[in-house]
Amino acid sequence: MAEEPVNEAAPVPVAVRRKSLSALPFLVALASLAVPGLGHAWLHRWGRALAFFVAVGGLALTGYIMRGQVFTTVSNDPFGRLGFLADACSGVFYVLARFLEATGPNLSRAAGDYGTRFLASAGIVNLIGMLDAYAIAGGRRG
């Protein structure tokens, strides 16, 4: 049996397209922000959904295991606040990292410092995914 070719450039489903002038792009973006890949899954872009879930989840969890710093809303300096914004963009993985974090970061080793960057990168990658899902839902991207 021949394998069905993967075509991610397929048009957005009719039911979804009808709502494209409504709040759909914002809802899709919100879904992507909350759970990496969920917005793409909503639009039936399964490959992209899996790619973003694996990439964001992998970066965030590796950062956590390396004992990187998970920034909170309480910070005295602008870099801490920027760090929080970057971390928080990884959605559910930020909540998971905060929940699992018990003993705090270990920045005395290079691994902990790298972990902080991994956590921030997870948020940035998810932000890119969110913008991509928003553009697809708005019909500006295939």
């Binding site: 790619a51 990439a55 390396m66 691994a111």
Partner: protein, 63 residues
């Protein structure tokens, strides 16, 4: 609950980072599965090559 810390050195950390970011970039950059895999591999190799190249460029200043 706290998992035991993972103490990666510079190179394994770079490899994991390059792999995961390449997957994400390939996800948005191409349409078919074959194109994505090719793009991800190419991106991954470039990440490593440029990282190692920059490391060697900085080597004279490290001592």
């Amino acid at each position: 609950m706290h998992a035991s810390a993972l103490h990666l050195s510079h190179f394994p950390a770079m490899v994991i980072f390059a792999l995961l970011v390449s997957i994400a970039l390939a996800g948005i950059g191409r349409h078919t599965a074959a194109q994505r895999i090719k793009y991800a591999v190419w991106s991954f190799v470039l990440f490593l090559a440029i990282g190692i190249g920059l490391a060697w460029l900085m080597y004279p200043f490290s001592r």
